[in-house]
Amino acid sequence: MKDTVDPAPSVNLEEIIVCPQCDAVYHLKVPKVGEKAVCERCHTVLIEPRKKAGLKIIAIAIATFVLILGATFFPFLDIDAAGNKNSVSVMDAALAFSSGPLLLLSLATAALIMLVPLARVMLTLYVLVPIVLDLPPARHAMQAFRLSQALQPWSMAEIFALGCAVALVKIADLATVGFGPAFWMFCGLVVLIVAQDKFMCKWSVWNSLENPKKS
């Protein structure tokens, strides 16, 4: 028994959507703004358009960009135990493993906390700004958007923020720990990164890249 059939000539490939998680095929029916289309069998969200999502995402991306730079170089925690003081920035924390073979770990940490989120922000801006301005898509915009999707699981800023909380609890009885400006920037950053992923409807972006508006 063959488990595949030859493509039915009647199917218009532009009018169907396939769930990326479970391969279920649906007739494309774009939901209204505020509603979402969900795969019936694995419940993956397929399309979720939002009002003025493009502008909101761009605004969030610019704010994220500024906050990442700030949060990287300002001190985010300082410690005070019996007169011995130390304050560290995210950069210092990422470079904590800088001796011997642990250097690799240092680079990986820096990449996961700062470089990957930063790269995703820039890719997002590169793809979305022309779309929102009704210009033709930027060169290689599709590859750029694909890369930014592939990087998503490796962007770990929000995990780092929770790590801060755990570290604080661990040394709370050893010393007095204070928050620097970058700590609050990091908290804001976490909210922004979550909001950006929430507003982003991937299908809508692919659709606009494929069918750019004629201006």
Partner: protein, 219 residues
């Protein structure tokens, strides 16, 4: 929330493979089966990635191999005025429990021991269940897959805590904390299990029809 309409005439949900199509897993666009690269976004397409099982198992084994030294070597080297203390993951948690911090000890054991082990078991179970074509419980296996994918990244929290502590607690003679060799193995273990979970082709969970003969002859 609106449901999508089914493409088939009947109410049975058809997979793209059953309709003779191949779909791009990045941008959801469908193409005739055999199309190698998505014409819209340029992502490589395979109707079912049978070779993925080898990658899943390869990354899984490396992840497990890294997890063993991660538990045997010290994670943190704490030096206070009079003593040097090197504690492993489990040792550190036991010590915290002795000092009465049962809550934190529990969280550490959960995040660094229970969740990684559960993750190894879950990936292995999914990979085996696809091979044996266990037709039941598509939905619960899919939920399991999504949990594994979601939770995988959060294990990095341990590494970040070590990074924060060892950069922050550098108080000259009073106390210093430095990372131990286990931190690198633990990070590698997390990264390889993430790669293993990403290599898994979740569409295989939903296939009920047995494939005939050698699966490699299919596209």
């Amino acid at each position: 929330m609106v449901g999508m309409e089914f493409a088939g005439k009947s109410q049975k949900i058809l997979s793209a493979r059953e309709m003779g199509l191949v779909a791009c897993t990045r941008c959801t666009r469908a193409w005739p089966i055999g199309t190698p690269v998505c014409q819209r976004c340029g992502h490589k397409m395979l109707s079912r990635d049978f070779g993925s099982m080898q990658r899943v198992w390869a990354f899984w084994v490396v992840g497990l191999m890294c997890y063993i030294p991660a538990n045997m070597y010290p994670m943190l080297k704490t030096r206070t005025l009079f003593q040097v203390d090197e504690s492993t993951i489990v040792g550190g948690a036991v010590e915290l429990a002795h000092h009465g911090s049962y809550g934190i000890a529990f969280i550490i054991l959960l995040a660094s021991v229970a969740i990684p082990l559960a993750k190894f078991w879950a990936i292995a179970y999914l990979a085996v269940s696809v091979k044996t074509r266990n037709a039941a419980a598509h939905r619960s296996r899919h939920v399991m897959y999504e949990i594994v994918e979601y939770i995988g990244r959060w294990s990095m929290i341990d590494i970040f805590v070590v990074a924060i502590l060892s950069s922050l607690v550098q108080l000259k003679t009073l106390a210093t904390i430095n990372p131990g060799p286990a931190s690198m193995f633990f990070a590698l273990s997390v990264i390889f299990t993430m790669l293993s979970a990403q290599a898994f082709d979740s569409r295989l969970i939903w296939d009920t029809n047995a494939f005939d003969g050698d699966p490699d002859q299919h596209v």
